[in-house]
Symmetry: C2
Subunit: 164 residues, 2 copies
DNA sequence: TACTAAGTTGTAATCATTACACATTAATTA
DNA sequence: TAATTAATGTGTAATGATTACAACTTAGTA
Protein backbone atom coordinates (compact mmCIF):
# COMPACT_ATOMS: atom_id res chain seq x y z
CA UNK A 1 0.00 0.00 0.00
CA UNK A 2 2.87 2.35 0.65
CA UNK A 3 6.62 2.20 0.90
CA UNK A 4 7.79 2.27 4.46
CA UNK A 5 11.17 3.85 4.06
CA UNK A 6 10.13 7.40 4.64
CA UNK A 7 12.08 7.58 7.87
CA UNK A 8 15.15 7.42 5.66
CA UNK A 9 14.95 10.62 3.69
CA UNK A 10 18.65 11.02 3.08
CA UNK A 11 19.88 7.73 1.67
CA UNK A 12 23.34 7.32 3.10
CA UNK A 13 25.07 4.93 5.44
CA UNK A 14 24.40 6.95 8.57
CA UNK A 15 20.67 7.07 8.07
CA UNK A 16 20.38 3.46 6.98
CA UNK A 17 22.20 2.53 10.18
CA UNK A 18 19.85 4.65 12.31
CA UNK A 19 16.80 3.17 10.58
CA UNK A 20 18.13 -0.32 11.19
CA UNK A 21 18.79 0.40 14.87
CA UNK A 22 15.38 2.00 15.34
CA UNK A 23 13.79 -1.07 13.82
CA UNK A 24 15.78 -3.35 16.09
CA UNK A 25 14.52 -1.50 19.14
CA UNK A 26 10.88 -1.57 18.03
CA UNK A 27 8.68 -4.24 19.59
CA UNK A 28 8.27 -7.22 17.30
CA UNK A 29 4.91 -8.48 16.18
CA UNK A 30 5.14 -11.27 18.78
CA UNK A 31 5.96 -8.78 21.49
CA UNK A 32 2.92 -6.72 20.50
CA UNK A 33 0.77 -9.84 20.84
CA UNK A 34 2.31 -10.55 24.23
CA UNK A 35 1.61 -6.98 25.31
CA UNK A 36 -2.05 -7.37 24.38
CA UNK A 37 -2.25 -10.67 26.22
CA UNK A 38 -0.85 -9.05 29.36
CA UNK A 39 -3.62 -6.50 29.23
CA UNK A 40 -6.29 -9.18 28.80
CA UNK A 41 -7.13 -8.07 25.29
CA UNK A 42 -8.14 -10.93 23.09
CA UNK A 43 -6.41 -10.91 19.72
CA UNK A 44 -9.11 -11.98 17.31
CA UNK A 45 -8.39 -12.65 13.64
CA UNK A 46 -9.64 -9.18 12.67
CA UNK A 47 -7.60 -7.45 15.37
CA UNK A 48 -4.55 -9.43 14.41
CA UNK A 49 -4.93 -8.40 10.79
CA UNK A 50 -5.26 -4.72 11.68
CA UNK A 51 -2.18 -4.91 13.89
CA UNK A 52 -0.30 -6.77 11.17
CA UNK A 53 -1.36 -4.17 8.61
CA UNK A 54 -0.04 -1.35 10.79
CA UNK A 55 3.32 -3.03 11.29
CA UNK A 56 3.67 -3.61 7.56
CA UNK A 57 2.33 -0.22 6.46
CA UNK A 58 4.03 2.41 8.52
CA UNK A 59 2.89 5.22 6.22
CA UNK A 60 0.29 6.50 8.68
CA UNK A 61 -2.79 4.97 7.03
CA UNK A 62 -6.34 6.22 7.52
CA UNK A 63 -9.19 3.97 8.61
CA UNK A 64 -10.27 3.86 5.00
CA UNK A 65 -6.83 2.72 3.81
CA UNK A 66 -6.79 -0.08 6.37
CA UNK A 67 -10.37 -1.14 5.69
CA UNK A 68 -10.12 -1.05 1.91
CA UNK A 69 -6.92 -3.08 1.79
CA UNK A 70 -7.95 -5.66 4.39
CA UNK A 71 -11.38 -5.99 2.87
CA UNK A 72 -9.82 -7.57 -0.22
CA UNK A 73 -8.64 -10.51 1.87
CA UNK A 74 -11.46 -10.48 4.44
CA UNK A 75 -14.69 -9.72 2.54
CA UNK A 76 -16.75 -9.97 5.72
CA UNK A 77 -14.72 -7.31 7.54
CA UNK A 78 -16.71 -4.39 8.88
CA UNK A 79 -15.40 -0.85 9.04
CA UNK A 80 -16.80 -0.63 12.56
CA UNK A 81 -14.44 -3.41 13.58
CA UNK A 82 -11.51 -1.45 12.22
CA UNK A 83 -12.61 1.58 14.23
CA UNK A 84 -13.12 -0.51 17.36
CA UNK A 85 -9.77 -2.23 17.02
CA UNK A 86 -7.90 1.01 16.49
CA UNK A 87 -9.58 2.57 19.52
CA UNK A 88 -8.41 -0.33 21.67
CA UNK A 89 -4.88 -0.28 20.29
CA UNK A 90 -4.65 3.47 20.93
CA UNK A 91 -6.05 3.06 24.44
CA UNK A 92 -3.42 0.51 25.41
CA UNK A 93 -0.71 2.67 23.84
CA UNK A 94 0.37 0.34 21.05
CA UNK A 95 -0.73 2.77 18.35
CA UNK A 96 -0.62 6.54 18.18
CA UNK A 97 -2.99 8.92 16.45
CA UNK A 98 -1.59 11.42 13.95
CA UNK A 99 -3.87 14.40 13.38
CA UNK A 100 -1.65 16.61 11.27
CA UNK A 101 -4.60 17.68 9.16
CA UNK A 102 -8.26 17.83 9.98
CA UNK A 103 -10.70 15.31 8.61
CA UNK A 104 -8.11 12.59 8.22
CA UNK A 105 -7.22 10.72 11.37
CA UNK A 106 -4.16 8.61 10.76
CA UNK A 107 -2.62 5.78 12.76
CA UNK A 108 1.02 5.06 13.53
CA UNK A 109 2.42 1.82 14.96
CA UNK A 110 5.60 3.68 15.89
CA UNK A 111 4.88 5.14 19.29
CA UNK A 112 8.41 6.29 20.02
CA UNK A 113 8.68 10.06 19.79
CA UNK A 114 9.37 11.44 16.33
CA UNK A 115 8.16 14.33 14.21
CA UNK A 116 5.81 14.30 11.24
CA UNK A 117 6.12 16.26 8.02
CA UNK A 118 3.22 16.48 5.59
CA UNK A 119 3.96 17.44 2.00
CA UNK A 120 1.30 19.92 0.86
CA UNK A 121 1.75 18.78 -2.73
CA UNK A 122 1.69 14.97 -2.70
CA UNK A 123 0.17 14.48 0.75
CA UNK A 124 2.84 12.07 1.94
CA UNK A 125 3.51 12.10 5.67
CA UNK A 126 7.19 11.65 6.44
CA UNK A 127 8.68 10.75 9.78
CA UNK A 128 11.67 12.69 10.98
CA UNK A 129 13.86 12.20 14.01
CA UNK A 130 13.76 14.87 16.68
CA UNK A 131 14.39 14.82 20.39
CA UNK A 132 10.82 15.69 21.22
CA UNK A 133 11.09 14.38 24.78
CA UNK A 134 13.39 17.23 25.64
CA UNK A 135 11.08 19.92 24.27
CA UNK A 136 9.76 22.08 27.05
CA UNK A 137 8.46 25.52 27.98
CA UNK A 138 8.65 27.51 31.19
CA UNK A 139 4.98 28.32 30.73
CA UNK A 140 4.11 24.67 31.35
CA UNK A 141 5.90 24.26 34.67
CA UNK A 142 2.67 23.48 36.48
CA UNK A 143 1.15 21.35 33.72
CA UNK A 144 1.24 17.57 33.49
CA UNK A 145 2.35 16.78 29.95
CA UNK A 146 1.30 13.36 28.66
CA UNK A 147 1.75 13.72 24.90
CA UNK A 148 3.94 15.79 22.63
CA UNK A 149 3.44 16.15 18.90
CA UNK A 150 5.50 18.07 16.35
CA UNK A 151 3.97 18.61 12.93
CA UNK A 152 5.69 20.35 10.02
CA UNK A 153 4.21 21.13 6.61
CA UNK A 154 5.71 22.14 3.31
CA UNK A 155 7.16 20.48 0.22
CA UNK A 156 9.07 17.22 0.07
CA UNK A 157 12.22 16.76 -2.05
CA UNK A 158 10.37 14.77 -4.72
CA UNK A 159 7.81 17.52 -5.23
CA UNK A 160 10.44 20.26 -5.05
CA UNK A 161 12.41 18.65 -7.88
CA UNK A 162 9.30 18.58 -10.07
CA UNK A 163 8.96 22.35 -9.99
CA UNK A 164 12.55 23.13 -10.97
CA UNK B 1 -16.93 33.85 25.43
CA UNK B 2 -13.60 32.95 26.95
CA UNK B 3 -10.90 34.62 28.96
CA UNK B 4 -7.96 35.55 26.85
CA UNK B 5 -5.16 35.40 29.34
CA UNK B 6 -4.13 31.85 28.79
CA UNK B 7 -0.78 32.87 27.39
CA UNK B 8 0.06 33.96 30.91
CA UNK B 9 -0.02 30.77 32.88
CA UNK B 10 2.43 31.79 35.57
CA UNK B 11 1.30 35.11 36.90
CA UNK B 12 4.44 36.99 37.72
CA UNK B 13 6.13 40.13 36.50
CA UNK B 14 8.25 38.41 33.89
CA UNK B 15 5.35 36.77 32.15
CA UNK B 16 3.12 39.80 32.36
CA UNK B 17 5.90 41.76 30.70
CA UNK B 18 6.30 39.19 27.95
CA UNK B 19 2.55 39.10 27.35
CA UNK B 20 2.49 42.89 27.13
CA UNK B 21 5.37 42.96 24.67
CA UNK B 22 3.83 40.22 22.54
CA UNK B 23 0.62 42.19 22.42
CA UNK B 24 2.47 45.36 21.44
CA UNK B 25 4.06 43.57 18.52
CA UNK B 26 0.81 42.07 17.31
CA UNK B 27 -0.88 43.82 14.41
CA UNK B 28 -3.74 46.02 15.58
CA UNK B 29 -7.25 45.66 14.29
CA UNK B 30 -6.67 48.64 11.98
CA UNK B 31 -3.49 47.09 10.68
CA UNK B 32 -5.37 43.89 9.95
CA UNK B 33 -7.90 45.89 7.95
CA UNK B 34 -5.08 47.62 6.08
CA UNK B 35 -3.50 44.26 5.35
CA UNK B 36 -6.75 43.00 3.83
CA UNK B 37 -7.07 46.15 1.77
CA UNK B 38 -3.58 45.68 0.37
CA UNK B 39 -4.57 42.21 -0.78
CA UNK B 40 -7.74 43.52 -2.45
CA UNK B 41 -9.98 41.70 -0.02
CA UNK B 42 -13.15 43.60 0.69
CA UNK B 43 -13.98 43.80 4.39
CA UNK B 44 -17.73 43.37 4.51
CA UNK B 45 -19.71 43.77 7.71
CA UNK B 46 -19.76 39.99 8.26
CA UNK B 47 -16.03 39.60 7.61
CA UNK B 48 -15.28 42.49 9.90
CA UNK B 49 -17.31 40.92 12.67
CA UNK B 50 -15.54 37.56 12.33
CA UNK B 51 -12.16 39.28 12.41
CA UNK B 52 -13.22 41.33 15.40
CA UNK B 53 -14.44 38.21 17.16
CA UNK B 54 -11.10 36.49 16.65
CA UNK B 55 -9.14 39.44 18.02
CA UNK B 56 -11.37 39.60 21.09
CA UNK B 57 -11.59 35.82 21.66
CA UNK B 58 -8.13 34.40 21.43
CA UNK B 59 -9.18 31.08 22.97
CA UNK B 60 -9.00 29.23 19.65
CA UNK B 61 -12.72 29.15 18.90
CA UNK B 62 -14.38 26.66 16.57
CA UNK B 63 -16.61 27.70 13.69
CA UNK B 64 -19.57 26.86 15.87
CA UNK B 65 -18.35 29.11 18.69
CA UNK B 66 -17.92 32.00 16.30
CA UNK B 67 -21.22 31.43 14.54
CA UNK B 68 -23.29 30.92 17.68
CA UNK B 69 -21.94 34.02 19.39
CA UNK B 70 -22.11 36.31 16.35
CA UNK B 71 -25.55 35.00 15.45
CA UNK B 72 -26.97 36.65 18.58
CA UNK B 73 -26.06 40.08 17.22
CA UNK B 74 -26.47 39.27 13.53
CA UNK B 75 -29.53 37.02 13.20
CA UNK B 76 -29.16 36.87 9.42
CA UNK B 77 -25.61 35.53 9.57
CA UNK B 78 -25.02 32.25 7.79
CA UNK B 79 -22.59 29.62 8.96
CA UNK B 80 -21.38 29.31 5.39
CA UNK B 81 -20.27 32.92 5.56
CA UNK B 82 -18.24 32.16 8.68
CA UNK B 83 -16.59 29.25 6.88
CA UNK B 84 -15.91 31.36 3.79
CA UNK B 85 -14.48 34.23 5.80
CA UNK B 86 -12.19 31.98 7.82
CA UNK B 87 -10.92 30.32 4.64
CA UNK B 88 -10.01 33.71 3.22
CA UNK B 89 -8.36 34.89 6.42
CA UNK B 90 -6.31 31.70 6.60
CA UNK B 91 -5.34 32.00 2.92
CA UNK B 92 -3.94 35.49 3.37
CA UNK B 93 -2.15 34.41 6.53
CA UNK B 94 -4.01 36.57 9.03
CA UNK B 95 -5.41 33.56 10.88
CA UNK B 96 -3.91 30.17 11.62
CA UNK B 97 -5.64 26.83 11.91
CA UNK B 98 -5.16 24.78 15.07
CA UNK B 99 -5.87 21.07 14.58
CA UNK B 100 -4.70 19.67 17.88
CA UNK B 101 -7.59 17.22 17.94
CA UNK B 102 -9.56 15.70 15.13
CA UNK B 103 -13.09 16.81 14.38
CA UNK B 104 -12.64 20.26 15.85
CA UNK B 105 -10.88 22.76 13.64
CA UNK B 106 -9.98 25.82 15.65
CA UNK B 107 -8.85 29.27 14.60
CA UNK B 108 -6.15 31.51 16.06
CA UNK B 109 -5.63 35.19 15.30
CA UNK B 110 -2.11 34.93 16.74
CA UNK B 111 0.00 33.79 13.83
CA UNK B 112 3.35 34.28 15.52
CA UNK B 113 4.92 30.95 16.43
CA UNK B 114 3.86 29.50 19.75
CA UNK B 115 2.93 26.08 21.10
CA UNK B 116 -0.49 24.76 22.04
CA UNK B 117 -1.41 22.65 25.05
CA UNK B 118 -4.79 20.93 25.27
CA UNK B 119 -6.04 19.84 28.67
CA UNK B 120 -7.56 16.38 28.32
CA UNK B 121 -9.86 17.06 31.25
CA UNK B 122 -11.40 20.49 30.66
CA UNK B 123 -10.59 20.83 26.96
CA UNK B 124 -9.01 24.25 27.29
CA UNK B 125 -6.30 25.01 24.75
CA UNK B 126 -3.47 27.01 26.28
CA UNK B 127 -0.79 28.90 24.41
CA UNK B 128 2.78 28.52 25.53
CA UNK B 129 5.91 30.27 24.39
CA UNK B 130 8.51 28.21 22.59
CA UNK B 131 11.15 29.02 20.02
CA UNK B 132 9.50 26.91 17.36
CA UNK B 133 11.30 28.70 14.52
CA UNK B 134 14.57 27.16 15.64
CA UNK B 135 13.22 23.62 15.71
CA UNK B 136 14.83 21.54 13.03
CA UNK B 137 15.89 18.03 12.02
CA UNK B 138 18.71 16.76 9.85
CA UNK B 139 16.20 14.48 8.16
CA UNK B 140 14.52 17.52 6.64
CA UNK B 141 17.59 19.08 5.03
CA UNK B 142 16.12 18.76 1.56
CA UNK B 143 12.56 19.69 2.52
CA UNK B 144 10.98 23.10 2.21
CA UNK B 145 9.30 23.76 5.57
CA UNK B 146 6.44 26.23 5.47
CA UNK B 147 4.64 25.56 8.75
CA UNK B 148 5.62 24.26 12.14
CA UNK B 149 3.21 23.21 14.85
CA UNK B 150 3.87 21.94 18.35
CA UNK B 151 0.99 20.35 20.23
CA UNK B 152 1.13 19.06 23.79
CA UNK B 153 -1.62 17.27 25.69
CA UNK B 154 -2.14 16.47 29.35
CA UNK B 155 -3.65 18.13 32.40
CA UNK B 156 -3.73 21.82 33.21
CA UNK B 157 -2.98 23.20 36.71
CA UNK B 158 -6.66 23.87 37.41
CA UNK B 159 -7.65 20.29 36.67
CA UNK B 160 -4.63 18.89 38.49
CA UNK B 161 -5.61 20.72 41.67
CA UNK B 162 -9.09 19.21 41.52
CA UNK B 163 -7.76 15.68 41.79
CA UNK B 164 -5.53 16.26 44.79
C1' DT C 1 -25.68 -29.49 24.69
C1' DA C 2 -27.08 -25.17 26.72
C1' DC C 3 -25.50 -20.94 28.46
C1' DT C 4 -22.75 -16.74 28.64
C1' DA C 5 -19.63 -13.29 27.36
C1' DA C 6 -16.88 -11.26 23.91
C1' DG C 7 -16.46 -9.87 19.41
C1' DT C 8 -18.28 -8.71 14.75
C1' DT C 9 -21.42 -6.86 11.48
C1' DG C 10 -24.50 -3.70 9.01
C1' DT C 11 -27.37 0.09 9.29
C1' DA C 12 -28.87 4.35 11.09
C1' DA C 13 -27.76 8.65 13.39
C1' DT C 14 -24.72 12.44 14.12
C1' DC C 15 -21.82 16.13 13.13
C1' DA C 16 -18.52 19.06 10.62
C1' DT C 17 -17.69 20.64 6.26
C1' DT C 18 -18.52 21.62 1.40
C1' DA C 19 -21.32 22.40 -2.84
C1' DC C 20 -24.48 24.98 -4.96
C1' DA C 21 -28.34 27.74 -6.45
C1' DC C 22 -30.47 31.82 -5.41
C1' DA C 23 -30.82 36.48 -3.06
C1' DT C 24 -28.69 40.68 -1.77
C1' DT C 25 -25.45 44.25 -1.92
C1' DA C 26 -21.74 47.02 -3.96
C1' DA C 27 -19.43 48.81 -7.88
C1' DT C 28 -19.38 50.23 -12.59
C1' DT C 29 -21.10 52.03 -16.71
C1' DA C 30 -24.35 54.27 -19.88
C1' DT D 1 -30.00 58.25 -12.30
C1' DA D 2 -31.00 53.61 -14.03
C1' DA D 3 -29.18 49.55 -15.85
C1' DT D 4 -25.65 46.18 -15.71
C1' DT D 5 -22.19 43.43 -13.66
C1' DA D 6 -19.44 41.57 -10.04
C1' DA D 7 -18.86 40.37 -5.36
C1' DT D 8 -20.76 38.68 -1.23
C1' DG D 9 -24.12 36.42 1.67
C1' DT D 10 -27.75 33.00 2.62
C1' DG D 11 -30.09 28.61 3.18
C1' DT D 12 -30.45 24.00 1.95
C1' DA D 13 -28.75 19.77 0.24
C1' DA D 14 -24.90 16.62 -0.32
C1' DT D 15 -20.78 14.54 1.39
C1' DG D 16 -17.83 12.03 4.34
C1' DA D 17 -15.95 10.58 8.69
C1' DT D 18 -17.23 8.86 12.94
C1' DT D 19 -20.26 6.97 16.45
C1' DA D 20 -24.41 4.51 18.26
C1' DC D 21 -26.82 0.59 18.38
C1' DA D 22 -29.17 -3.74 17.80
C1' DA D 23 -28.77 -8.18 15.85
C1' DC D 24 -25.71 -11.94 14.69
C1' DT D 25 -21.66 -15.01 15.34
C1' DT D 26 -18.02 -17.07 17.72
C1' DA D 27 -15.42 -18.87 21.60
C1' DG D 28 -15.32 -20.50 26.07
C1' DT D 29 -17.58 -22.97 29.99
C1' DA D 30 -20.61 -25.80 32.80
MN1 LIG E 1 5.15 8.36 12.29
MN1 LIG F 1 -2.71 30.02 19.97
ZN1 LIG G 1 5.58 15.73 -1.94
ZN1 LIG H 1 -7.97 21.49 32.49
Amino acid sequence: MCNDYNLVTNINFEYLLIAWLVNLMRPSFDELKKELNMRNINLSYQRLKVLEYLTQNQCHPTVDHIFTDLHKDIPTLSKTTVYNTLRILVEVGLVRVVTIEDNETRYDIITENHGHFKCESCGTIYNFSMDIDSLTSEDLDNFKIKDKDVYFKGLCPKCLSKYK
